[in-house]
Every structure is written in structure tokens, then in C-alpha cells.
Symmetry: C2
């Protein structure tokens, strides 16, 4: 089983990049080949390839108009900066469009704009009459059905509206799931585990294609509008990466090099988080900390540039009509007291515990649905989950809100904000019970929401849970302080009014929760820093995330993305893990049934037969089967390229050569594989400790190494072999339960 | 010449770490060995070593008191976090102490505090009488000499004060240089190029020792107080790294592992920048972007934690008595107009050009002083430069200020700040001329100041030059706008008063200048972001730095740190560089006079003789000289360790064994080198393209690779060989002039 699994994976990862249309056959074939080789070492070939491409473009230019030539030449010059600009711009543009559509689709559940165009959201529609309550332009569905004019009251026909709301939610959620299932299954979920894998050096054909981009954008609007407990934010990363991949097709430097493309993807991911949270620096750090295995300093700067461009574009669109990039940006300032530090620590610990619980439950449900029939009926699942979400959330105005608006309400300050529902102290016990109920309902919904097939992540939903809890904490503390006065523990409060801001606890609680679920650290601190526009919060946030991460790490070091990578069995070599293996390369290598090509004596027929009967993505070339002396390595795709170049005068008996010494007259037809050979594949001796091998796989982002003994090939070790060994290790040592479930 | 240079370097880098006192001889010997091997691959051995150390510590524990055992055990548990805490805390503490002493020493040039203790700075001294002008407690030196009481007037005896000022400056500057020259030559300069090299995998014995820490701290205070155009800020990085290195001696995990120690150093560097600019996130990004070749995600978080701890500690000390961490933090907010963008671009271009000029002049002078006799008389140099600085700067209150205070003045806002000397519009032409003169004088002084032997960097001085220019820009623009009114180009100004804030231009100008000199990018944006406490400035700063970097990159891609690394010939493999070599590993390897050890037939005498007659840091072991079949690699230090373990019954003829097959009776005395062998050194085939080899050196941070042909050793390639090849490439292709100067 092990062998076949490895072979199928190798096959899966071979020759599969979506390509631009104009690239010549040769270029597309070689490029798709090189990526199946490890990508650090593909850089060498990319350079040569680029030269060839440039030459071929110059040829084509002669037949083009002068104007196009000048444009093309100037594009090549600043190509790198230009493509990052394009990606940033379109990411910002798309994010703005998604925001606007989402708002409209979200409000459509309640009613429509009867005056000024049905395409307006409630907020837009009500802009004319400043007072929200007397917004007669907005007509609820019950009013529409009963033939009444718009009244501005939201809950006139409560029962009917409830029913219609549930119907709308279910329809929107199911529609979103249907779109994904029918047109682009890759559009489901947040996409972050997959992008992490892709950035780690794997290729998923079509995962970042135009179709996914389109479907994900539309379905994301629907899924978020449906009131499912999913967030837009993480999905922006996938959308931005799709933009980057599609854009890269038009720029030869990026189209032909998988390494360069990954630099662009890192930048796009930064842009995605930048528009999601209005945090360009946070985006870069997210890309760096959570996603990328390969991040040269040059890319940091370009990513930042890309993220800034995206943020500026979104600011230009101003989808929220408030000058803010995200609804839950806050502007009030706050100086914490030292006496609050133990509370922050406690909040961090509780957030860490609950976050870990949420994470474990999410993962457990994910395994459950994969192993039961739920996964086979994703539309029913989406329908049921959105129906249940709708039933649970309609009961409260706060839960009915979009999650980002809920966060904004929870983050708000009692002193300056008008929205004071959460601040009335006479109503204290009700508020506390309400917030706890909110937290519980959101918690439960977040276990299921992001696990359905619809697009969307868990970031903002889990932040909302934490924010509810944090707000309860802060609210209780402020009540106690009011009761007790500025003495003892609260002595520092003297002269500060209000002394305790519940909104700050909400911010910190949400950071703790998100940190425990995703294991984000610095990037999260910086995102909060940028969201709150000030360094006042940096210390509380850091302390809280520190504690939350310590607590959650006690239950396992993997965040949701790593867990999903394990669940889906993606070939990702986690570089956070430290293993102590006592084995050597010889213990994990594949030596039995090692499929090698003898350098001499091959014919067209024998090579074609080899390709048909085996499934490996590449073959070592040896001098002779006896000596097993290694000459090089050739990938399956390269073999196919040469075989396809067969001319009519060749037969099955046409000789094939892998070395340069061809002892025959030059006029006989022959196939020359020599230029397609990797003549210096990475070799290790069989006594190399496994830990070193893993380090080399990580550092050089290898796909395989050849194992030699005294210069003779004795085996091959693929990334897959390494991953399998690590999984076994985890299974027997720490993650026994997970492993049992997965086998 | 090439061979001997390589050999001397190899020798230089062998066996030289400053060690803690308690480590056993075995541990210290092996650890110092492992670091001369490449450090990524040292990780494997570190793990084994750690186990051994733990065991030996358990042994020692038995003889210790229970209390010490408990303490030690709990320390081991959270050792990592604790040591980062320690480093952060002491960095903050030292920074605070340096700030306070510097202020006192700086004011000492003008006079002393006659009431309340001479150890008070002028500001402290004058605190009693709120008004600075009537601060009679402060007595100038001329008043002291003439027997007059303190008057609070600064310039009473102008001529005498001028003379005394020049005297003080020269004394302080020369004293600082004398301290450095006599006690710790490593304390000179900013230390950033060296730390970059150390983090890249090189070891400089004593560079981060306690003596350097002490001398650098004291001499830094003196050099900054002397009015030399040097900044504290970059030197904090070196000081923090010394703290980290000294602290690491008390923690076995860090004392025994060079890899772990480098993680700690990365964190310390972040803490250094954090206290220098009050920018913890900026510090982490600086460490990541400018310094570290190895930065696992775990280290990012710990570095951030370290930086935060340092910032909190410094805030607790509050050396400026203003709640600010640095003098030039600003608090006003500002919304830029779109019409200002072209101005920012222009400012970026000019800053980039001037920064490049400054960089080139600094580097040229650095070469000049190395090749002439200036470098041999650093005390005279320091005396002359500080004398000339003093003469030039006394003429203006602004130049006489500390550079950080100058920056604060230039960054200040005309509307809110009291210091309005730079804002009076009736005096416009004088202000412009004055600012330009300031910029020119600072520019010239900054060429020489950081090149002297005294500690201190070029960061804040070059920022000051840029700030002067930026302020001129902003000031002129605001004058034009006042004259023209809110029409045309300035239409956006309508309703904004003041529309143009010269302080903002000063900030942006300084960012452009610093970016051109050091080639910082994201880290600089974030530092400015944290200095200005708001995202208002993020877009102007980004645009300006973008342009400045583009402009300066046109004149060469190396910043001051890279240039100094080249100047000092440190073995640092710049990973920003992209080369296209057409050679293979065979072309750069050392094959002639290859010094190998035959696995059999060695005696104590022969090995000792080998060590005495050659200077290599390690030796490949081959099965036989005929087959050259590789068995392993042993470092010089490991050979020495085994030789030193010689027992009295051994003679020069005692046999040495490198393999496990020992065909003789076990009771004869023999030396067993087998456990000390690296049995799987990195091997490459000789046809490997050089580009790949360089990639491998970078990614795995190798020190050497063995080159094989058909399993037989044919050569060895060291980092030095690679560096020499790169230098040649640069010399012949781009940097011909530099190369000529250096040869």
C-alpha cells in the first residue's frame, strides 16, 4: 500500500500547472516539468528557460506592431513591481466588490429597498432619512407580502419575517454550496491549508484558477449573507492568490517559474489579510509566519507593497462609507492599568482553553464528516446548518447581525459610542446572560459553519466568540469596580473614568481565541495593533496571546491549518515540528522495486513502455544495473516531452541516449535525452541521520533525494516517505487518537 | 595566495567560542567543534549533546542542595522563555542607563549642576525652576571659571564657552576612542555588519563578550556626548547581542548550541532596535530583514516577546521623563492630501540620491582610512574629528543639540509645539538657509563620525540630514501654499489649516535618507509607523522609501552594512544577491593539495604531525588514497579532543582508527576517532552547477561541501571559495573600482 500511495502521489504532483495560452509547447512542457522537481533547484533551470523565452519573444515581436513592442518591453523592465501592483489592485477591488455585494445580499434576508433601487443595502437605502427607525424606504418582506408600505420598523410581522428569514438563509447557504459543488469544488473553505501546502512547494492543478476565483467570490458573498458562521477574511487570502495566479499567466517571468510564482503568491496572501483586517504589516507577517516556507527579504518588501496597494485600493472604494477598511476598526484610545494585567492573563488562559476546545471540536467534526456519509451530501449539510443557524440567530439582533458588525458592537466603547445596548448597568444581569448565550451559540455554530462546503473561514467567527467572553469579563470587572470604588485592587482607577473599558477586553478576548485556534502570534498582535490604530493595546494583546498560546500548545502544537493539512493528507513538511529520530536515510528510503533507467540500450519502445507500466514522477539514470553508478535523474514529464518530439522516421526500435557518448553514425535517427537530464540530483549517503535529511528537505524544499552507498545508487527518498515517517512518529508518540481516526 | 588565505580563514574560524565556566571540558571541546561545522547540521549533534549534558547535570545535582536543584529544574522547563526575558530586561535596563548617563555627559560640555548634585543633567537640574531661562542652578563652565553664580543664560562668556566646549568634545571623543582601542577594539562602530556575519554562521571569538559589553556601553556614552555625528541606536543592537551572549552562558541549552544561540541573538537584535526607536515590531522586522539568515517562525514570536520586554523595561525606567521611549516620537496626527504624493515621490528621489552619495562617501572614506595611515592612529583621528565637529556645531543651537533632540525639533509640528523657531514665516529665508547649512554640516560630519573607532552608528545622523532637507521641502511648500492660496494644485487644502505640515516632510525625508544608506525597507516603514503612533503616515512613508530604494539601487544594491562586510572581508554569503554563473562545482573546488586522512595506518604521531603542519579546520577521511572513497569528515577540534584524551600508556606509535573494524586485540591501547566522525558530510557531484551550490550553502548555511566523482572524493569547496568566486564576479562585472581599491 505504501508504494502505491507514494506512486499515486508522485503522479498527482506531476505536470500539472494551469498555463497561459500563448506559451510555446516547448516552454509549457519544460516548465511544468521543472516544478515537479524541487523548486529551489528549479531556479537554475528557470534562469536558462527565461533566456530562451526572451529570445522566442523577440522573434515574435518582429511580427508585431511597434506600439505593442514598446509596451511589452517596458512591461518586462518593471515586470516584478508591476505584477505585484496588479495583484494588489485587483485584490483590493475584488474585496471592495465583495463587501458591497455582501451587504446587499445580507440585508435581502430582511427586505428590500422600495425607493431608489432594489440593489441598495438597508444602510444605503436609509441614507436619505437620517433616522434609521423612520426609514420608510426599506420594506420588509412581511410588509411586501401583506401589501403594507415600508415602515422602518424591523419586526412588524415577527412570525412571518422569521419564517422568511430562515427560508432566505437556507436558500442562500444551499445556493452557495451548490455553486461550489457544481462548478468549483476547490472554492470551499478558507483555502489557507491548501495555500500553505502550495507555498510549501506542492502544485494543485486548478486550485488557483480563474474559475475558482469567480465561484469563490460569488459563493462567498452568498455564504456570508446566509448568516452561516463563516468569515470573509481568511477566504480573501485564497481569492488574492487566485488573482495572483491568473495575473502571473500574462507575465513570462512568473508564468514560467514556480519559484517566482510562489513569491507572488506570498505577496498576494499578504494583500488578502491586508484587506481583510486593514492591516498591511499584519498581512506580511501573516504570510511570513503562517504560510510561507520561502520568504527572501526582497519578497518581504514586495509583499508589503502589494498589501499597501490593496489597502489603498479598498480605501478608495470605501465600501463601508465610513473611511474604515473594516467594520470593527476602533479609534478610541485607552491606557491600561497595571492591576489589569492579571485579568489579561486570566482572559488569555480562558481564551486559550476555549479556543483549543473549539479547535478540537472543529477537527473532530471534520473527521466525522469525512468518515461518515455527511461529506457525500454537502448540499444537505449546508442546508441543514444554515437552517439551524438561521433559527438560532434570528432571536437576537446581535446574532442576526453580520459577524463583523457584531465584533464592532462588542469592541465599542461605552463612553463615546452611541450603540449603548451593551452598556446599561441597570440591565447588568441580562447583558451578561445575553453575551454568554451569544458566545455559546456562536461557539456551536462555528464548529459546523466553516466545515461545510461553502467558502469562508473561521477567523472572524472565533474572534466573535472570544469577544463575547472578553466583553463579559470586562463588563463584570467594571461593575465590581463601580460597586467597590477606587480602593485596594482598583486603586489605580482613581482619576480615570471610565477606568475599565469592556470593549478592550472584547478585543483581547477575541485575540486570545483566534490565537488558540489558528496559533497566530506576532501577525495577530500586529493585526490588532493596526485595527486599533495605536500602540496602547500592544502590551495587553501580547500578554494575552502569549498566555493563550502557552495554554493551547499544552494540548498539541498544531493550529487549525496544520490540522486540516493532516486531515487532507497534503504533502506539507511542517517546519515548526522538531523530531528526534534515531534512524538514518537508509531506514526510510525506497529500495525495493527501485525503478531506474539503464543509460544504455534503451529504445523508444522501451521508454514508452516504462512510462505506461509505472507511475513514478521521475527516474534515476544509472550507468549499468550492476554498478548502479548514478548518472542523473530525469522526470516523467521530460521523458514525455522527448518522446512526443518523435519524428516520422522513428520507430519503436529507435535508440535512446542519456549520455553524450553516442557510438554510431550521426545520420541514424535517435532520441537524445541528455539535455533533459538533471545531471546533479541531490544525493545523500545512506548513513545520513534522518533528522538531517528532514532538515535538507525543509531548507532546500526538495521533492526527493537519491540515496547512495559508495557512489552506487541504493534507493530514493521522497517527501512522501518523510511525511509518512513523521505521521507514524506522531501517531505512536503523541497523536494516537488522531492517527487511529485517520487510518 | 588563495590557498593560504583560505587556510588562515579556516583556522580563524575554528574552536573559538567564549564559554561559560562550569561546562565540563568534554562539552566545551565538542561544542566549540560543532560550530566550526555548519550550524544547520550541527543541530543533530546538539540534540545528542544536550542529552549528555542533561545527564551530567543530573549527576552534579546529587551533590547540590535541594533548593538549587528545584530552581535549576524549573529553569530548564521554561528556559527558552526565561532567557529571552532576561535578555529583554537587561537590554531595556542598559538602554535606560545609557540614555540617562548620556544626557548628563552631554550637558557636562556646557556646565554643571551647582545645586542638587553635579550628577544631574541640565534638564534635571532645572526642574525646580520651571522656566529654563532663569535656571540659576545650572552653572556654565565660563561662569565657574570666572567665579560667577549660575545665571541660566547659556551663552554668557561666549568665547570661553566655545573654547571649553571644543576642549570637552575633543576629550570625550578621544577618551571614548582610547577606551575602545585599549580595552575592546571590537566595541568600535555600530557592530551591525559583524552581527550580520555572526548570525550568518560565523564565529568571532570575544566579539560579544562581557568586556565588549562594558566598554561599548561606557564608550558609547562618551562618543555620543562628545557631539560626534554618531548615533546610539545601531549600537544598541550590538549591546543587546552582548547581553544575549553573556546571558546564554548560564543556560546550557543556549551555551552549548550555536544554532540556539543565534536564535537568541536574533531576538536580542530585535530588542536593541525596539529600545532604540520604541518600535518592537520594527525591531523584529529589522532583525528579520537586515540581519538574520535563519529565522524560524518560533523565533519571530520569541524575538517579539524579547523586544516587548525591553520596551516595557525602558518605559518603566522612563529616562526622558516624558513617557516617551525616544525623544523624536511624535504624537500629532495628520491626513495627507493626494496632491502631496508627487512631492513625496520627489522627496524620495532626492533622499535616495543624497543617501547614496552619503553611502558612497562613507565607504570611500572607510577604504581610504584602511589603506592609509589613518587607521593606525585612531586616537588622533577621533581627536581631530571630534574637534572639527565641535568647531562646526557650536555655532548653532540646533547642531549643538543631541541628534535625537534635533530630530525631535525637526519632526515637530508648528501648530501644537512650543518650539517654534523653525516655523516663523517672516524669517523664512533665514530658516531655509539655516536648515540647508545644518543638512550640509551634518552630511559632512556623518561621513567621518561613524568611521572613527568610537562606538556608534550612522542611523540617526543620516536621518537628521534627511530630516533637515525634508523640513526645507515642507517649509517651502507651505510658504508657496500660503502665498498662492487653496487653488489649483493646492485645491485640496481648502478647509485644512495648516494644510502642509513641514514636520511630516522631515519624517519622510529622514526615512528616505536612512533607506538609501542602509537599504532598510519594511522594517523602516514599521519603525516610522511605531514612532508616529498611527497609520496616517504609512502610505507617504512607503511611497517615499519605495522611490528612495529604487533610486539608490540603481547605483548598486548594497547598503552600508553589506559594504562594510565586503570592506572587512567577513565570510558572509549575501542572500540578496542573484548571480548567474555558468561554472560547476568542479571549477571552484580545491582539489590540488587536498589534505585527506587515510582511514587506516594512522598513529598518534602522524595525526599530531598533520595537525602541526597543516592549518585546515577539518579533514575528509578516505578508505584509501587510491580509491579516494569517502568515509567521513572530522574537524580539527575533534581530532585535538581525541589526541588530548591520550592516556600515559600511549606512545607516538599508538594506532588510530577511524572505522569500526579494528583487527587487533582489544587490550592494546588505541585511539578511536570513529564516534567523532561526521559520517555523512554533505557531498555534491562535481558537475553540480555553481548556482545550485550557492543555493545549498545559503539554505543549509554550510561551511564546506565535499565534491565527489563516481563516489570518489575529488575536492572540497568551502564557503570561502564561494565568497572569493562571488567577489571576483562582482569585481569583473559591476564593482571594478571597489575591487581595485581592495586588492
Amino acid at each position: 500500500m505504501a508504494e502505491s500511495e507514494s506512486a499515486s502521489l508522485l503522479k498527482k504532483s506531476s505536470g500539472d500547472i494551469a498555463y497561459g495560452t500563448s506559451a510555446s509547447k516547448l516552454v509549457s512542457a519544460t516548465a511544468s516539468t521543472f516544478e515537479t522537481v524541487d523548486w529551489e533547484f528549479g531556479a537554475e533551470r528557470d534562469r536558462l528557460l527565461r533566456e530562451a523565452l526572451q529570445k522566442s519573444r523577440q522573434m515574435r515581436h518582429r511580427s508585431r506592431s511597434k506600439w505593442r513592442r514598446i509596451l511589452s518591453d517596458s512591461l518586462t523592465a518593471g515586470e516584478g513591481w508591476f505584477v505585484f501592483l496588479i495583484v494588489g489592485f485587483f485584490t483590493g477591488l475584488l474585496a471592495g466588490m465583495i463587501q458591497v455585494s455582501r451587504e446587499w445580499a445580507f440585508d435581502l434576508k430582511f427586505g428590500y429597498c422600495s425607493e431608489g433601487g432594489f440593489w441598495n443595502s438597508r444602510k444605503e437605502c436609509c441614507r436619505i432619512s437620517k433616522d434609521e427607525d423612520s426609514c420608510w424606504q426599506w420594506r420588509t418582506w412581511s410588509e411586501f407580502l401583506m401589501g403594507l408600505p415600508g415602515s422602518g420598523k424591523r419586526d412588524r410581522g415577527y412570525g412571518l419575517d422569521y419564517l422568511l428569514y430562515m427560508l432566505w438563509c437556507t436558500v442562500l447557504g444551499t445556493w452557495s454550496a451548490w455553486l461550489v459543488k457544481t462548478f468549483a469544488p476547490f472554492a470551499s473553505g478558507s483555502g489557507i491549508p491548501e495555500i500553505k501546502t502550495i507555498l510549501g512547494g506542492f502544485v494543485m492543478k486548478g486550485y488557483l484558477g480563474g474559475r475558482v476565483l469567480l465561484i469563490k467570490s460569488v459563493a462567498l458573498v452568498l455564504s456570508v449573507a446566509s448568516g452561516l458562521s463563516v468569515g470573509l477574511e481568511a477566504a480573501y487570502v485564497h481569492i488574492a492568490c487566485c488573482v495572483a495566479n491568473v495575473s502571473s499567466r500574462y507575465f513570462s517571468k512568473y508564468a514560467t517559474s514556480e519559484v517566482k510564482k510562489r513569491e507572488l503568491l506570498s505577496g498576494a496572501a499578504a494583500a488578502g489579510i491586508s484587506v481583510a483586517f486593514g492591516a498591511p504589516v499584519g498581512g506580511v507577517l501573516f504570510s511570513l509566519e503562517m504560510l510561507s516556507s520561502y520568504f527572501p527579504p526582497k519578497t518581504i518588501w514586495r509583499s508589503f507593497y502589494c498589501a499597501i496597494v490593496a489597502a489603498i485600493t479598498l480605501r478608495g472604494i470605501d465600501p463601508l462609507h465610513s473611511g474604515k477598511l473594516v467594520a470593527f476598526e476602533i479609534t478610541y484610545h485607552y491606557a491600561f492599568g497595571w492591576f489589569e494585567l492579571p485579568i489579561f492573563v486570566m482572559l488569555g488562559a480562558i481564551g486559550g482553553l476555549l479556543g483549543t476546545l473549539l479547535l478540537k471540536l472543529m477537527v473532530r467534526y471534520a473527521y466525522l464528516r469525512q468518515t461518515t456519509r455527511i461529506a457525500r451530501h454537502p448540499l444537505y449539510e449546508a442546508a441543514v446548518v444554515s437552517f439551524l443557524s438561521a433559527s438560532a440567530t434570528y432571536l437576537s439582533t446581535f446574532l442576526r447581525m453580520d459577524t463583523t458588525d457584531l465584533l464592532a458592537a462588542l469592541y465599542s466603547d461605552c463612553k463615546y459610542e452611541t450603540n449603548a445596548t451593551l452598556c446599561v448597568e441597570s440591565d447588568a444581569s441580562n447583558i451578561i446572560i445575553f453575551l454568554l448565550a451569544c458566545a455559546l451559540i456562536k461557539f456551536i455554530l462555528t464548529i459546523f459553519g466553516p466545515n461545510t462546503i461553502v467558502p469562508g473561514g473561521h477567523m472572524v467567527p472565533s474572534m466573535a466568540v472570544g469577544a463575547c467572553l472578553g466583553r463579559v469579563f470586562g463588563f463584570c470587572l467594571s461593575l465590581v469596580q463601580e460597586r467597590v470604588g477606587d480602593v485596594g485592587f482598583f486603586a489605580e482607577c482613581a482619576g480615570h473614568d471610565p477606568c475599565i473599558t469592556p470593549g478592550v477586553y472584547a478585543i483581547i478576548g477575541s485575540a486570545a481565541m483566534l490565537s488558540a485556534v489558528s496559533r497566530m502570534t506576532v501577525s495577530l498582535v500586529v493585526i490588532i495593533f493596526e485595527l486599533t490604530d495605536g500602540i496602547d493595546y500592544i502590551m495587553p494583546t501580547t500578554i494575552c496571546i502569549l498566555v493563550a498560546k502557552w495554554v493551547s500548545d499544552a494540548f498539541g502544537r498544531d493550529g487549525i491549518y496544520d490540522e486540516l493539512i493532516i486531515l487532507h493528507d497534503y504533502p506539507y513538511l511542517n517546519n515548526k515540528m522538531e523530531f528526534v529520530f534515531n534512524e538514518t536515510a537508509a531506514d526510510v528510503m525506497k529500495s525495493r522495486d527501485l525503478c531506474v533507467i539503464n543509460a544504455t540500450g534503451n529504445t523508444y519502445g522501451s521508454i514508452a513502455n516504462l512510462l505506461n507500466t509505472t507511475e513514478f514522477s521521475g527516474y534515476p539514470i544509472v550507468k549499468s544495473m550492476d554498478s548502479m553508478q548514478l548518472i542523473g535523474y530525469i522526470s516523467r514529464a521530460n521523458l514525455e516531452t522527448v518522446l512526443n518530439a518523435k519524428t516520422p522516421d522513428m520507430t519503436d526500435a529507435t535508440q535512446c541516449f542519456f549520455t553524450n557518448d553516442r557510438p554510431f553514425p550521426r545520420n541514424a535517427p535517435y532520441l537524445d535525452f541528455n539535455p533533459w537530464l538533471d545531471q546533479s540530483p541531490i544525493q545523500i549517503v545512506e548513513t545520513t541521520p534522518l533528522n538531517r535529511v528532514i532538515d535538507a528537505f525543509r531548507a532546500l524544499r526538495l521533492r526527493y533525494v537519491l540515496v547512495v552507498r559508495n557512489g552506487a545508487l541504493v534507493g530514493i527518498t521522497t517527501k512522501r516517505d518523510i511525511l509518512r515517517r513523521i505521521h507514524t512518529f506522531r501517531g505512536t508518540h503523541k497523536f494516537a487518537s488522531v492517527n487511529v481516526k485517520r487510518s
